[in-house]
Symmetry: C2
Subunit: 714 residues, 2 copies
């Protein structure tokens, strides 16, 4: 009776939808919405047997307690037994700890469980969560909890999961002074000054969140690296973080500045083939492992954008990577060597340079090196074709680098569902071994039999109370983990699960919000860079449009280098007649993309120069098509805003308002992009805006003069 | 029955003491601890009548809803009537809105209520909260809620409160790039880039917290000022903040860079007597008020530490202040002009310079200027005597500047209850008009009949999840507000209330934690700067000891300038025979402080040079006394740690652990201070450590070499 009254009050009184700052991410463990639901799960939750002892078992127990307390609103006492009690309805136990009869019955399935995998199986009236490792057991526990979070029937459970990719990492571009390069959610969560003395609760919650989505490594410092992080002052601090992360199955990695031997110990050179340099790295590795016995290894950005590297000594990227790899090899460490190498002095089309540099080195890297390749050949633009290195390095493991932080995609205030874009890349066919040779199969190792596999995501995490600036930025973090675990995952399901776990189970909210999310990526591409436009953002901070950016010393950092707009045409000819970047792809793509009549329109100006008045397959001239797509993008943003407005009252007001205000900004900035780009390009086309495209709000000069100080992320 | 079971579970299950990150500050509105307590208050809380309509009334209603929801754990529907309903047990209504019979009965009391004041009166079975202004009503509501938070009996309520000080301000030293000068709680909460489009919930919670303690103004930018904040780009953003703060009775102030006319509009001069400059400020003021109609005014740091000022043009501080004051005067604005003016080229003892500069200007400032004076004549040292300007400017309003952020007091990781120190200053007797002429009476205007009164606190607020880095830093923010409202407030009561509202009502916790808090200040002074030592911290970042700091271009920024340790003696002779800084104080202090036999020992080395082997009144030599006090400080910190450990389980584990880890750091740093200072000074005294003082852990060289990178706050 009491509960019914309370329930009625809950329905009657919107105030009681509690304020929520989003800190709990997708681990809200939302209270059961009615008595029937609560009763159903309570039976299970009140009868859990957890067998085994380890720090990770402690984490499992704690997580169950948090979840139970939250699901049941503190109205039950969690009673997790660590004894072999027959009454347990949920059994969480390593395969070695399972009762013999269960083990025998499940033997066939158990054989399929790999190192980090798990099995969840409803069997003989009980749910068994089992694994070969402690961390597998933790992953299984989170998977079970996710099924409860999404209110699945537990009697159907029969889930066997092994990660398809070994290294599932976040890359933080966090500086030691706590600024975050390309970070838009405040500042770095790593408070180095207070470490190792103070372990912030946020470090623990960070590890929980990552473990819940299968992330098993984190590189905590900027790839534009400061050598200081390799000194005892910082190693002691990094070790304290490693201690926090360890029970959650997360290894710590550090970025290594290539000339660290010179900076830290005044060596005369950082030549990777110099024996003194090699000895330095050996000694440094040994020192690091004395602080962090399970140190993951190094992430290196070399010979790019001012970072020192093997080029400085006439050496190859393989020479550089191998010296570091040899140093960490005795301790089981790896080197992630970034392929993002380009130079303004190389006359080649910038997007060709990584391929030109790395392809000849295929097979020349140590077996504990993995080359980290950005999704596309330029730099995390709203839309790029997949990077041509994928499929082109059969003898060198390649890992993916996605950017979760939205440097070029509206930064923190735009709602853009990144998994849509990632899926597009992962499903791209490299044709390396014929049709079906997807990027996804390169990454999971199946295509080339890679012995090392990996996926990294450049973190969007900062000190903002909701971690990611935009509440929906959490979805990108979540989806990254899910796709790193299995690049074939269904993003519709990922998005739906995330919404349910994060906001509410109310299907009227979930369905509408999912629709907004899944339309958001194409909308953004339309209002920013339709038809294959790229690198037309503002200089330096990259916030807002800047198609007029030109000059300034580095041509490859301008917009005009890429769009090459003239009075006749626009676009970068990358066919055989141009830079022939297209030649880095399989013949199948040459055929399709090489012809402006057959290339999908989203890549048109990436590969071709097209006259303004050229009639496209849509029946529109290029100019009209561009203008209409910009307009469509703006209308898409307005649609997102309108649909969101309808959801007021279905979730807590705090997050609703937060997202609403960001959608207002998004609409304004979509208009800004459209107006600035059309005014700028219109100078060249000299063509009128087609019907249906709104007139710009200001003159071009307004946009050229528009300037804001202290834009974040640099 | 159900409630009893729940209560039992709550007792049995420590897990159910929820994690708490401290974000809610002292506005936790902790749930009633048992049924009897809940029943007692529920009668009142379910029968509230709130009369009137205004944005501030909206704030009152919302705050009541938050409080009721939290006190009663969402188990009641708040039902705040806005009609004149007889059943109301709590009446919140402006004096004009009170029922006639009530108004007549309370007429005598009502007469005493001033602009921001309020009356809470239990009368004829109801509680009346009334005021002459909306903001008075909000203050009264917070006061009523505080009585419920501290579980006071409501039938005794008869409170009439008027603030004793008009301007009660926070000063944020926040830069536009979100770094915070001398900030140790992360970064600035002002996300200028997202303003005005996004109003963060934290801005609202900031306003709530400040209003709850009577703060009515905030200067949001660093006194080391950036002129950009006076441009439309930032005025639009500041206006958005002002809109948030307005219903909470909080005015926004901006720091004005004195040469802004040159920086923003290329004027050839910023000479305050130049008509073009005066016209510029007039126009700028008009522009600011067009964005923010109730803009509070300017806070100015001039001619100090590199800031431009009237000295650059041979003008006085009054000339500078008056030009700005004339500009804001037509709009009701004021100028807060800092007295923290000193120059390394002035040969005088640095601590004398502000007095020398300002005392002759007494009476020469416009009536909308108030001179803002730091508590002591140096710079927020752990202990200083009160600033000699207090009592010395009868014809110029002076306001207090306290530093809530702990630049020199262990920064964020030390627990130091600052109100203890502030009380010491406020109760200091200036003897300006004979005995009893306390600083407090200078500030409240009663001593000199000031028409403007004020108190500013340099904010300790940042992006840390608990706002202030150390959870107990919240107490300093809270106490500052309470002392600004009434400098005579009892700090024992302030501390106790804060503990109850913030953590728990459990008296075993409250009493023990209060004891720690109230002992903490003297403990810190002992391990940092006993016996009147000052300015012996590390250079630049001011973190940790640096008695050896010397040279470097500015003598007045070294330690040796202040302690002047030699093989014979230590201390700064500020008597008549020395710098005669003592001459800036009343004759009564000259007599007491001028004699090393009669001066309280805490000021000994501030005013005197004393031989190392001089026997003090304690029976110890100066050296032994110093060493013993350092030791006592360390032991005090250990005692704090030990006492805190005993409190585990009485509050949530998250905040308990957080404070525990900071106490560990505090103890280590107390030892660091003791060891470093005694080793350094021991070089001069050549005397052995007395019995009871532990040997330093390292050699002096270790401390001299100790260096950490990226220390926060600069």
């Amino acid at each position: 009776m009491y509960r019914i009254i309370v329930s009625l009050l809950l329905i009657l009184c919107p105030l009681l939808i509690k304020a929520n700052d989003g800190y709990k991410l997708w681990l809200q463990y939302l209270p059961f919405e009615n008595k029937a639901v609560a009763d159903y799960y309570r039976d299970y939750l009140e009868n859990i047997t957890l067998i085994g002892e380890s720090p990770t078992h402690g984490v499992i127990r704690k997580e169950l307690e948090i979840a139970i307390d939250s699901f049941l609103e503190g109205k039950t006492k969690s009673n997790i037994s660590s004894k072999n009690i027959n009454s347990g309805l949920i059994w969480i136990a390593g395969t070695v700890d399972l009762p013999q009869n269960i083990k025998a019955s499940l033997a066939e399935r158990i054989k399929e469980i790999k190192e980090e995998g798990y099995l969840i199986k409803y069997f003989q009236g009980k749910i068994f969560v089992t694994a070969n490792s402690d961390i597998g057991l933790l992953y299984g526990t989170f998977a079970l909890l996710k099924n409860i979070q999404t209110r699945k029937s537990l009697e159907d459970l029969d889930i066997l999961e092994n990660p398809k990719i070994q290294l599932r990492l976040l890359n933080h571009w966090d500086n030691l002074n706590r600024t975050v390069e390309r970070g838009y959610a405040g500042f770095s969560i790593w408070n180095w000054h207070r470490l190792p003395g103070h372990i912030d609760q946020q470090y623990i919650d960070y590890a929980r969140a990552n473990a819940s989505i299968g992330i098993n490594g984190t590189s905590v410092t900027n790839v534009n690296a400061n050598a200081l992080v390799l000194t005892p002052e910082y190693l002691e601090k990094a070790a304290a973080l490693a201690d926090v992360f360890r029970p959650y199955g997360i290894k710590i990695y550090l970025t290594a500045r290539f000339n660290a031997p010179m900076m830290l110990d005044s060596l005369p050179t950082a030549d990777p083939l110099d024996p003194l340099v090699q000895a330095w790295w050996m000694k440094k590795a040994k020192e690091i492992y004395s602080y962090i016995p399970d140190f993951g290894g190094f992430l290196v950005k070399a010979d790019s954008e001012g970072q020192p590297g093997p080029h400085n000594y006439g050496r190859t990227q393989a020479d550089g990577a191998n010296t570091l790899a040899d140093a960490v090899k005795p301790f089981g460490g790896i080197v992630m060597w970034r392929a993002f190498v380009y130079n303004e002095k190389t006359p080649t089309d910038r997007i060709k340079q990584a391929y030109d540099e790395f392809k000849p080195l295929d097979g020349k890297f140590r077996d504990n090196v993995i080359v980290q390749v950005k999704n596309g050949p330029l730099d995390f633009q709203p839309r790029e074709p997949f990077h041509p290195l994928f499929g082109a390095m059969p003898n060198t493991p390649l890992m993916m680098e996605f950017q979760i932080t939205k440097e070029y995609l509206g930064q923190e205030t735009h709602w853009v569902n990144l998994s849509t874009s990632w899926k597009e890349i992962l499903q791209s066919d490299t044709y390396a071994k014929g049709h079906g040779s997807t990027v996804s199969k390169v990454l999971d190792g199946s295509l080339h039999n890679y012995q090392l596999t990996g996926m990294a995501g450049v973190s969007n995490i900062g000190t903002d109370r909701n971690w990611t600036g935009h509440h929906t930025g959490q979805a990108d973090w979540y989806a990254f983990g899910k796709l790193a675990w299995n690049p074939e995952s269904n993003i519709d399901g990922i998005t739906e699960d995330w919404l349910k776990m994060t906001f509410t189970l109310d299907p009227s909210f979930v369905n509408a919000a999912k629709k907004i999310a899944l339309n958001s990526y194409e909308t953004l591409v339309n209002y920013m860079t339709p038809l294959g436009l790229h690198h037309i953002m503002a200089r330096s901070h990259h916030w807002g449009p800047g198609p007029w950016v030109t000059g300034g010393g580095r041509d490859d950092w301008t917009a005009t280098y890429y769009h090459k707009a003239s009075k006749d045409s626009i676009g970068f000819d990358r066919t055989e007649k141009g830079s022939n970047a297209i030649g880095q792809y399989a013949q199948e793509w040459n055929t399709v993309w090489g012809n402006p009549e057959t290339i999908p329109m989203e890549y048109l100006l990436w590969f071709h120069r097209i006259p303004w008045n050229k009639k496209l397959s849509t029946g529109n001239t290029l100019w009209d098509e561009m203008a209409l797509r910009y307009q469509k993008g703006v209308e898409g943003a307005r649609w997102m805003q309108k649909e969101w407005t309808k959801l007021e009252g279905k979730i807590d007001q705090e997050r609703f308002d937060h997202i609403s205000s960001f959608l207002n900004i998004q609409v304004k900035e979509a208009e800004w992009w459209r107006d600035a780009c059309l005014l700028y390009f219109g100078q060249f086309s000299k063509m009128a805006l087609p019907a249906g495209v709104e007139n710009p709000k200001h003159e071009l000069q307004y946009y050229l003069n528009f300037k804001r100080n202290f834009v974040p992320g640099i």
